[in-house]
Symmetry: none
Subunit: 121 residues, 2 copies
DNA sequence: GCAGAAATGAAAATGATTTTCATTTCCGGG
DNA sequence: CCCGGAAATGAAAATCATTTTCATTTCTGC
């Protein structure tokens, strides 16, 4: 575990949900850390191999990451400024469970994020 | 519906499952059709807008497509064998829309996948 | 047959991600 | 401390799918 990985983990903790490599890099720079984009990618790849982060793809194919084992919740993410709001997901939980049961799936989990443009953008 | 779209539909029918834009282009060329890669992408984009094809992302972020005349839906993915089942998502759509509206978000989209282990695994 | 619209595709641009490579930092043994 | 090699770092170049640009060709309705 090297410096870059620690920095990436700490910013992921701060974010508390999904973020792309580029977003994480920006956030690190903005909070005063000195780190190259290359190192962010390398750290994410390594954390992925170690099963410390989860990777998903947005609809446009960009990869987004989050810490494994984050408390389960969902976000409403602004496509423009990146601000996030935690949202209530019990309806979603029920839906996911119902769909899985209907098809005989076991050990069910799910991932969901809602994207949009926030009122201030 | 133009020529390129017809060609792309016909090769998708032949394939009978998922294929990437690059693969579809190669297949069309190999089967004697004359078509540019640009047109394959354009046709796929247009078919996607018309909900005639369904787009997914491989783990490396490359887009793959297949014919699918159904409405917007989500997938139930087997964590073990990777097989996917399309699931009905109207409950999810409603949830996403409600959450976004509640917070004043515009131009809403969402991302959702349900994971589990399928009956045959 | 003809003008304007739509379609086409080659080449350039884009944007995320990866690779290369030279430099810097770390670390253990002398 | 000091030295040398190993690991880490990051800037710049390379990669690769996808999109855009733009000039050319094909349709269409009149």
């Amino acid at each position: 575990m090297n410096k870059s990985e620690l920095k990436v983990i700490s910013v992921l903790e701060r974010v508390g949900g999904f973020a792309s490599a580029q977003q994480l890099h920006q956030l690190l720079l903005r909070s005063g850390e000195s780190i190259g984009l290359t190192s962010v990618y390398r750290a994410l790849q390594s954390l992925l191999d170690d099963k410390i982060v989860d990777q998903l793809r947005k609809e446009d194919g960009e990869a987004i990451y989050r810490l494994c084992g984050e408390a389960h919740h969902h976000h409403l993410v602004c496509k423009s400024c990146g601000s996030t709001v935690e949202i209530e997901g019990s309806a979603l939980e029920k839906w996911a469970k119902a769909m899985a049961e209907e098809h005989g799936y076991r050990e069910v989990g799910h991932l969901a994020e809602v994207f949009g443009i926030c009122p201030s953008c």
